[in-house]
């Protein structure tokens, strides 16, 4: 049995996992293939990417040309089928009045969580990213280093399939030879950006994304992942062989019904289920971890099918609900600490981080009237610029301490829903002239997005709202926020950089290029959906929530495998690191369980 109802749960499992996304999926994969019996709880409904993914549907096939609505904030065909920026009956609150400091919380409710629609950008943290405080005196060092995580980055890349190139750039690690899949060719706007970036000293190169640009080598990868374990190899081989290579159409945000990109539902959960060791309960909203005599004994959840509160027991519990939800769960659990469990340090909920986001677009005459050609590509970004000014930063030439990467966009992507003709350029054309203008301007827009490192601070955290409860009667998360000058100055720098690239290409910035006040264009916290922190790992039990394996200091058999444990939020998108750490944590959990230490 794989998907079960709440009533079908066994009396006890080896491990109970809360959440089914990147962290939950990876945890379940590792544990079930190690032979442990696992129960996974997901607050949303079950989801079948094979049957439900809209592949090749046109915007005209959807209501309102598939544009974003409050029900589908990333457009109609986005894979998310439950939850979103607002979840009915499950509010959260903000104490900050300024809009650019109000947390926005993306909470998908579906099996696979955010992995169904995410951008698939899969970047390794570099060695610097694990020791930021040692470098600039700000924030926190991780209790582990790049060398601890490197083997797991490699394993995850081999399992999920990541395209990209090894460029040997500073703090931008290469993967071992043969691990990365071939990078997709550059598209017109990307190649033009790259050329002009070079003039400005900005290295624009192939990004890394979890998309199969060719079939995974299912004959040899399973042996590398599970040496000596024929049973695990066989299961992984079978699952891997069922995935197809990308056929260069359909945006990845829709999900992929041929499993050519990574989502938990197509990559982690099928082999985990094939072991026979995984029971998944959808529509199960966990309210608290049950701790007795210093040990977690399971979780209490609301079975949304019956509306009743239920329990599932486990010898160990893993929280993988997403950083903020996992922190909220700890705070809502009853333990010996003043507030929640695993909180003797008082640090649960502290140091919430998102990525620093800002963007700029421009119109490039050189890209007008290009001969029609197919630029769908790999369904997402092909190029990016890793942070390139480490030395300038070290020399004190910049007024912010950490880096950002640039996600480079602009292509002849699927039109529909928007007007391809800029009113100001066409000066009001209509009729056949308008149709010619549409052909002329289509594809001549470029855009650049800053994805930068935020430094954790004492003013950005969550606690429980003392008054507001959700529809289940559970106290909701209350967010507090403050950007520091580092983030605001970074946003200013990024905006100036983007302007320089656009103007170097002979283009003009769309709208204002004013970069004086970062407050005006930094995106709201949470909006980039790279939430991490809230239960930081550390070397000192008094000042952190978990050790370097995501094991809580206070409750030995309680782990966090999502981004909650991140002591810093490098500019590298967190998902790949979440998966690497989850795999590592679960290997450790299995080892400790065998030794009888849990």
């Amino acid at each position: 049995m794989s998907i079960i109802s709440a009533d079908q749960a066994k009396p006890e499992y080896d491990v109970v996992i809360v959440g089914s996304g990147a962290a939950g999926g990876q945890s379940a994969f590792t544990l079930t293939l190690a032979g442990l019996k696992v129960c996974m709880l997901e607050a949303g409904r079950s989801y079948d990417p094979v049957a439900e993914t809209p592949m090749f549907q046109t915007p005209a096939d959807a209501p309102l040309m598939a544009v974003a609505t409050p029900d589908k904030p990333f457009g109609f065909h986005d894979a998310t089928i439950g939850g979103g920026w607002e979840v009915p009956g499950e509010p959260y609150t903000n104490t900050t009045k300024a809009e650019n400091s109000q947390w926005r919380w993306w909470r998908p409710r579906m099996v696979g969580g955010r992995t169904n629609h995410w951008g698939r950008i899969s970047l390794r943290n570099g060695p610097y990213d694990f020791k930021p405080r040692s470098r600039d005196g700000l924030g926190f060092d991780w209790p582990i280093g790049y060398e601890d995580v490197e083997p797991y980055y490699t394993k995850v890349e081999q399992l999920i399939g990541v395209y990209g190139t090894n460029d040997g750039l500073e703090n931008t690690p290469n993967s071992p030879e043969g691990v990365l899949l071939p990078a997709p060719k550059g598209r017109a706007a990307e190649l033009l950006s790259q050329k002009h970036g070079r003039k400005l000293g900005i290295p624009i190169t192939s990004i890394h994304r979890a998309v199969l640009t060719k079939h995974l080598d299912y004959q040899s990868i399973p042996q590398k992942l599970f040496p000596g374990n024929k049973w695990a190899q066989g299961i992984v081989k079978e699952a891997m062989s069922e995935r197809n290579a990308c056929f260069w159409a359909t945006p990845c945000g829709r999900g992929c019904n041929v499993a050519a990109n990574y989502q938990s539902t197509t990559v982690h959960l099928p082999p985990a289920m094939a072991t026979g060791n995984l029971d998944l309960i959808p529509m199960a909203h966990v309210r608290e971890v049950v701790v007795k005599d210093g040990k977690a004994t399971g979780v209490v959840f609301i079975d949304k099918v019956s509306g009743q509160e239920k329990r599932v027991a486990g010898k160990a519990v893993i929280l993988a609900a997403g950083a903020c939800e996992s922190a909220r769960l700890l705070l809502n659990s009853r333990g010996p600490d003043k507030a929640g469990v695993a909180n003797s340090s008082g640090k649960v909920g502290k140091y919430i981080m998102d990525t620093v986001g800002t963007f700029l677009s421009g119109h490039i005459p050189a890209l007008e009237n290009l001969p029609p050609h197919n630029e769908d590509g790999a369904g997402g970004d092909h190029f990016y610029s890793p942070w390139w000014l480490y030395q300038e930063q070290k020399a004190g030439k910049l007024d912010f301490a950490r880096g950002y990467h640039i996600e480079t966009g602009g292509s002849r992507g699927m039109p529909g829903g928007g007007n391809p003709v800029p009113d100001n350029l066409a000066e009001g054309s209509y009729g056949s002239k308008f149709k010619q203008d549409a052909r002329r301007y289509y594809g001549s827009n470029v855009h650049y997005a800053c994805r930068g490192e935020m430094i954790p601070n004492e003013d950005s955290y969550l606690d429980l709202d003392p008054e507001v409860k959700d529809k289940f009667g559970i106290p909701v998360a209350r967010f507090h926020w403050k950007w520091s000058e580092h983030e605001l100055n970074m946003a200013r720098h990024a905006r100036k950089t983007f302007t320089a690239i656009i103007e170097s290409m002979g283009g003009t910035v769309n709208g204002s290029k004013d970069a004086a006040d970062g407050n005006k264009f930094i995106q709201q916290p949470g909006f980039i959906i790279h939430e991490v922190g809230g239960a930081l790992m550390g070397a000192d039990a008094k000042a952190s929530v978990t050790n370097g394996f995501g094991q809580t200091w206070d409750v030995k058999n309680l782990f966090l495998t999502d981004g909650a444990t991140f002591p810093s939020n490098a500019d590298k998108n967190p998902t790949l690191t979440i998966m690497a750490l989850a795999w590592r944590a679960c290997d450790y959990l299995v080892g400790e369980a065998k030794k009888g230490n849990l």
Partner: protein, 277 residues
């Protein structure tokens, strides 16, 4: 966003059947006449090589007048069952929605929707007639492709103007203004005629006064803003269709065996070289 009335709080059925245990299912042949296939030199029953799969998909698309949905094709390509009909037909029941409800957070995504299916269209006959004439004046039939109304643009604009969401509700007054105004203006200038009954030259005389808001005379500013919105939606709808794609020069949304990047002609025009091997 308010509580979704279709869900009614806690009373939501989980879709336990939704997940198919793919790893335990024998792959089904891709069609009634399965193609013998090999992967890496090993014969594997019922599984297509990538190249063969692509040929099969592309061949089927080309051979069929009314092709199956792409999802069905891809499902078959990888030896999986097509979308179950009950899933494809999972549309929120009309009567369960309040007048202000949209499609909710969980509409069937792989389904094709028609304007009017989720909420009623609201243009009057006269408004629809004016909208058709105006849309076809903005996007006429020419050597780049059909007129707007021929590919459903008017219905899509009506759907927009009639939709329950904040952005669309905000747009509605201006969309109604655009179509009502061209009719009123036609009547005023051309002896009581409707906009749809004017000659092309007469229609242009009206549109020229409102087509570019920054240069419109003060008395036309409001109508010009409405015209601009109507034109934007016309374009958004027209270029959402395959005919619009052809008109604009979008040639994607087809399965390809490989991605080659821009052709040499494009690279030369831009003065760039392909940098990815």
């Amino acid at each position: 966003m308010t509580d979704d009335p279709r869900n009614g709080g806690l009373d939501v059925s989980p879709d336990l059947a939704g997940w198919r245990e793919r790893t335990s299912r024998a792959p089904a042949p891709p069609s009634a006449a399965p193609v013998p296939v090999t992967i890496d030199g090993t014969r594997r029953a019922g599984r297509l090589s990538r190249r063969e799969a692509m040929q099969w998909v592309l061949g089927t698309v080309a051979a069929s007048a009314l092709p199956p949905t792409a999802s069905e094709l891809m499902a078959q390509e990888v030896g999986r069952t097509p979308i179950p009909q009950e899933r494809a037909a999972r549309v929120p029941p009309r009567d369960a929605q309040s007048a202000l409800a949209g499609y909710g957070t969980d509409p069937a995504l792989a389904k094709v929707y028609k304007p009017g299916e989720l909420w009623p269209l609201t243009f009057t006959d006269a408004q629809r007639r004016a909208a058709t004439a105006l849309a076809d004046t903005i996007i006429p039939k020419d050597d780049l492709g059909p007129a707007a109304s021929e590919v459903g643009v008017v219905e899509m604009i009506d759907e927009w103007a009639s939709a329950p969401y904040p952005r669309q509700r905000g747009d509605r007054p201006n969309l109604i203004l655009a179509v009502d105004w061209v009719d009123a203006e036609a009547g005023k200038r051309f002896g009581g005629k409707a906009f749809a009954d004017l000659t092309q030259q007469q229609r242009h005389a009206i549109c020229d006064d409102v087509c570019y808001a920054p240069k419109a005379k003060p008395e036309f500013k409001k109508a010009a803003a409405a015209f601009s919105l109507f034109r934007s939606l016309c374009a958004g709808a027209y270029y959402a269709t395959p005919a619009g794609w052809q008109a604009i020069g979008y040639v994607g949304n087809v399965a390809l065996p490989s991605f080659e990047g821009p052709p040499t002609e494009v690279l030369q025009k831009l003065g760039v070289t392909q940098t990815v091997a």
